[in-house]
């Protein structure tokens, strides 16, 4: 095939965003695993507080970094960081909506 490859899948942006959200949903699970990992050896063999502390803090910081990167990637969406392409109401309720009042945007 000649020429540059065109993406076949039209909803590519949406698809990427969905997967990004999937990955982000997994973050707390990964975090829990990291934090519970020290339990694997059991309490039988005492460990060094200094080394254990370093492990915990490094894991912790990694988690924070990952969360920050995800939020950065998500905030590129036009509907705002909290929008989910699968949900009918695109975008979160903003202050403007609220002052207009409560039941939400009309006409749906």
């Amino acid at each position: 095939m000649a020429g540059p490859r065109e993406p076949i899948f039209l909803g590519r942006e949406t698809y990427r965003r969905r997967r990004l959200i999937d990955a982000m949903r997994l973050l707390p699970v990964a975090g829990a695993l990291l934090f519970l990992l020290p339990l694997l050896g059991g309490g039988a063999t005492p460990r060094s507080t200094a080394l254990g502390g370093i492990y915990l803090f490094v894991a912790w910081f990694g988690l924070i970094l990952a969360a920050a990167l995800f939020v950065r990637a998500l905030s590129r969406a036009p509907d705002g960081v909290g929008s989910d392409p699968l949900e009918p109401e695109a975008g979160p309720v903003s202050e403007a909506d609220e002052s207009r009042d409560g039941p939400g945007p009309e006409g749906r």
Binding site: L27, P28, V29, R47, G52, W60, A67, E95, G104
Partner: protein, 891 residues
């Protein structure tokens, strides 16, 4: 440094906070406070999670049990990082439903049940009061440290309870001033939130400063700190897996359910973007807060004299090294931690108490109902202010009577475990539509009871539960030992109580939700909460009632204030296309109004107030049915339309058929007229011609006789034609009278055969009959029947083109009745003509040969119809075949 200096600095700091809060409120009011809504302020306001208990206590905790203290921060980190799971939904619901507190959330979710609101409120007050006492204690303790360090005759050491009282009173004033400024939660507490954000910065800076001083100032760098840690009593990481998991879980749960956390996380949230940023920024804050905890603990243990309180290392280390400025900063950090927590907790609790306890009581005590004039806002505000004062007074009293000792330090986790009981009802309400009010109430009460029995009450020491009871159980029942329920031993008391209470709570919540049946309002709210992302407005809580818009306006003014209420009503009226302030009280409007009100007084109270005016219960089964009925009616209407259009189509079809028939009849009539004139004209012509010849008289006798005979024949033919026509018209008009009589079929046939054969010369027809079969008695007009038979036989004689014409008459009995078939051996009637043989004037062959007018079969058909039988042409019999059917004589 004297305590006087310390107190002056504290007062200046407090004055500064007042200024910040005041300024922020003003800015927000003037609409210039965009930065007040920035994610950073929101993140910093979340820092009230780190109270004095964590500011001072974390180091103490680390000094006692090493790294375990991080669990208190790891739980919230996981919750924040997983914001997409729970927090995003919680915040969306909080904003969509105008939730004012945890109690309001639970109450609103389960059908705006005030019972649940009260349960959660009581739980929160009981769980939070000791925590407030803990903050007061930390402030007095830290002041006491300075007192001991300084002149020794300071104001503070002399009277610690007095200090606590002053602090409590000051906090009450601050909270009342900035926390109850406005009622609508929509105009959030910008002043308070900003002041808290400032305090968050102060405590972070203070702890980091102490940490940096310890690591680089005292220990000489990270590697040296590591060496100090290795040499300290906490060098070994004693990992207790049960506690590790339980505490991580507990802190995560508490982060969601603590009233003060809910206040800043959900109620004060203005934008979901805030949450996204906080999802990583707040864990980072926690990370920084705990980064230097272990070093401070290790260095403190190494440097400070044996027996010094590790809870105060953050203060005592700088003091011992003569760094007064740093110690002052640390003190302000601790002071900030304590005050910010107390302020927000007091706001959250006062909202709950006023919305779920005071307002419902006030509403039920005042018989006039909600629509009398007068400002309810004052009632609500006073209720809140009094609640704040009462909550702080409780805290102070608890501090006084618990003695302010070590026991108080343990209260942090106990408090967490108490409020964690809200979790099943909360998560169940968010994600499971089947969760019901009964389930939530039973679960909450059970969990709360176990928590109180196994953890809270024993924390008061021997005064309440004697040591004997703790070791042997009440009344010697071993399985009821508070810290070893059902004989489960070996767990830490906190873990033990947490496991049992959460298990029983969740199990009962689930079980009772399964077996109970929710009210309509519960189901509506359940759908609203669980599917908040699918539809945040499709709720129809109110049926069109007889509510007076004016009454509603009066009530709304009392709660929201005149201008705001009028603006709301006017906007609504404009939306409905009306001018003025009184819109129609449509369900949508009631819905909207109620939600606005619930921002001020909570969902349950707002619902009750609107209910008082609208009349009766908000949602009844009938209302739900009405909603369903609308759909039903639409369906019925459309099916009616469909039926009607079908009927129309049917009528149109009939009309079309009738029209076709009329057209055909018209054609037939024309044909008939032309036929008849032709039929009449032919004999008339011959009669006229021959009568002219006779008149001329030039004829001899025989010829004259011949011509006269022709004239007579033609006249007879004419008469016969006219007779037939008359006969047919009489038959068709239905005016014929039948002469019913009994006769044997054979006899009738005999007569017909004889008559047909005698009618003129013609050829001889061989008629074959089966006499045995003809032996049937019939009851009919035999003359008319014979007429039909004659017609058929005569036709056979005339038209059968066989060399030896033969007619078979075959009688048989069939289901429809008696059947008489007449079959000849001729060539029959061509298929295309079969349909025509029964029509008038239809003749298939040469007219002259027929010698009739072609009315015979038409007349026969009419006769058979009259007799209740039928005559039909029977094709495929090897010749012309007619079938005459008579109704069976039996009936």
């Amino acid at each position: 440094m004297t305590s006087n200096v310390l107190i002056s600095v504290s007062l200046v700091y407090v004055a500064f906070l007042f200024l910040v809060a005041f300024g922020a409120d003003k800015w927000a009011h003037a609409g210039r406070g965009a930065w007040l809504r920035s994610p950073i302020v929101y993140t910093l306001s979340l820092s009230i999670y780190c109270t004095a208990w964590t500011f001072y206590g974390a180091v103490g905790y680390a000094a006692r049990s090493g790294l375990e203290f991080v669990t208190i921060y790891l739980g919230p980190t996981l919750v924040m990082v997983g914001w997409w799971w729970i927090l995003r939904k919680l915040v969306r619901i909080g904003r969509a439903q105008r939730i004012t507190s945890v109690a309001d959330l639970i109450s609103s979710r389960y059908g705006k049940s005030n019972l649940l609101g009260v349960i959660v409120t009581v739980l929160a007050v009981i769980g939070t009061t000791p925590y407030i006492a803990l903050q007061l204690q930390s402030v007095t303790l830290s002041l006491a440290v300075f007192g001991a360090e300084g002149s020794g005759a300071g104001l503070v050491t002399a009277d610690a309870p007095a200090t606590a009282l002053w602090v409590a009173a000051g906090l009450a004033v601050f909270t009342v001033m900035f926390g109850t400024r406005n009622l609508d939660v929509n105009e959030r507490h910008h002043g308070v939130v900003t002041a808290i954000a400032v305090e968050a910065v102060v405590k972070l800076v203070a702890l980091l400063a102490v940490g940096i001083f310890v690591v680089w100032g005292l220990a000489g760098g990270p590697t040296d700190v590591a060496r100090v840690i290795e040499a300290s009593p906490i060098s070994e990481w004693q990992l207790d897996s049960g506690r590790w998991v339980a505490l991580t879980f507990l802190s995560a749960v508490a982060f969601l359910t603590l009233p003060r956390m809910f206040q800043v996380l959900v109620v004060e949230n203005v934008d979901e973007n805030q949450l996204a940023t906080a999802s990583w920024a707040f864990p980072l804050y926690l990370f920084l807060m705990s980064l230097f905890v272990v070093p401070i603990a290790a260095v403190g243990l190494a440097r400070l004299p044996e027996g010094s309180n590790p809870d105060l290392f953050v203060l005592t280390l700088p003091l011992a090294e003569g760094r007064d400025g740093l110690a002052m900063l640390a003190f302000l950090g601790g002071f900030s931690s304590a005050t910010s927590m107390v302020i927000v907790a007091a706001i959250a609790l006062s909202t709950m108490v006023s919305n779920h306890i005071v307002m419902p009581l006030w509403l039920s005590l005042r018989q006039e109902g909600a629509s009398v004039s007068g400002d309810v806002r004052n009632v609500v505000l006073i209720a809140r202010r009094v609640s704040i004062a009462v909550v702080l007074a409780f805290g102070y009293l608890y501090y006084r009577f618990s003695g302010g000792g070590e026991a108080l330090a343990a209260i942090g986790l106990i408090s967490f475990a108490g409020i964690a009981q809200v979790l099943p009802a909360m998560l169940g309400g968010l994600f499971w539509r089947g969760a019901t009010r009964v389930g939530a109430a039973v679960g909450l009460i059970a969990g709360f009871t176990i928590w109180a029995y196994a953890l809270f009450l024993p924390s008061f020491g021997p005064a309440l539960f004697s040591p004997e009871m703790m070791t042997h159980g009440p009344w010697g029942l071993g399985w009821l030992r508070p810290q070893a329920l059902f004989g489960v031993e070996g767990m830490a008391p906190v873990v033990h109580a947490l496991v049992w209470s959460m298990l029983v709570n969740a199990a009962l919540f689930f079980l009772f939700s399964l077996v109970s049946f929710p009210t309509p309002l519960e189901r509506l709210q359940g759908a609203q909460f669980v599917n908040v992302f699918e539809h945040s407005q499709a709720r129809r809580g109110w049926a069109r009632g007889a509510a007076e818009a004016e009454d509603l306006l009066i009530m709304a003014q009392r709660i929201m204030g005149g201008a705001q209420a009028q603006a709301l009503f006017r906007a609504q009226a404009a939306e409905q296309g009306k001018s003025g302030y009184l819109p129609d009280t449509t369900p949508e409007f009631l819905e909207r109004l109620e939600r606005q009100l619930s921002g001020s007084v909570g969902a349950a109270t707002a619902h009750a107030m609107v209910g008082q005016i609208v009349g009766g219960a908000a949602v009844s089964v009938e209302d739900l049915m009405a909603v369903a009925d609308e759909t039903q009616q639409m369906l019925e209407y459309s099916s009616q339309l469909e039926a009607k259009s079908e009927e129309l189509a049917r009528t149109a079809r009939k009309l079309r058929e009738a029209n076709e028939k009329l057209t055909q009849l018209s054609i037939q009539k024309d044909a008939f007229l032309s036929q008849i004139s032709h039929e009449l004209r032919t004999p008339m012509t011959s009669i006229r011609a021959f009568s002219e010849i006779l008149r001329d008289g030039a004829l001899d006798g025989p010829a004259q006789h011949h011509y006269a005979g022709i004239i007579q024949d033609e006249a007879i033919r004419l008469t016969r034609l006219l007779d037939d026509l008359l006969d047919l018209s009489v038959l068709e008009a239905g005016q014929v009278t039948l002469n019913i009589q009994q006769a044997a079929l054979g006899a009738v046939l005999d007569r017909a055969v004889a008559s047909a054969n005698s009618a003129g010369e013609g050829r001889v027809l061989d008629i074959r009959r089966d006499r045995a079969r003809e032996d049937v008695t019939i009851e009919t007009d035999t003359d008319r029947l014979a007429q039909v038979f004659i017609n058929i036989i005569a036709n056979a004689r005339k038209y059968c083109d066989a060399a030896e014409p033969r007619l078979t008459i075959w009688v048989s009995k069939q289901k429809g009745g008696l059947v008489i078939d007449f079959v000849d051996n001729g060539s029959g009637i061509p298929a295309e003509a079969e349909a025509m043989v029964f029509e008038k004037f239809s003749r298939l062959t040469d007219q002259q040969k027929a010698g009739g007018a072609g009315l015979g079969l038409a007349i026969s058909r009419e006769i058979m119809n009259k007799l209740g039988g039928a005559i039909a042409y029977l094709p495929g019999q090897g010749g012309a075949a007619f079938r005459v059917t008579l109704p069976s004589p039996e009936g």
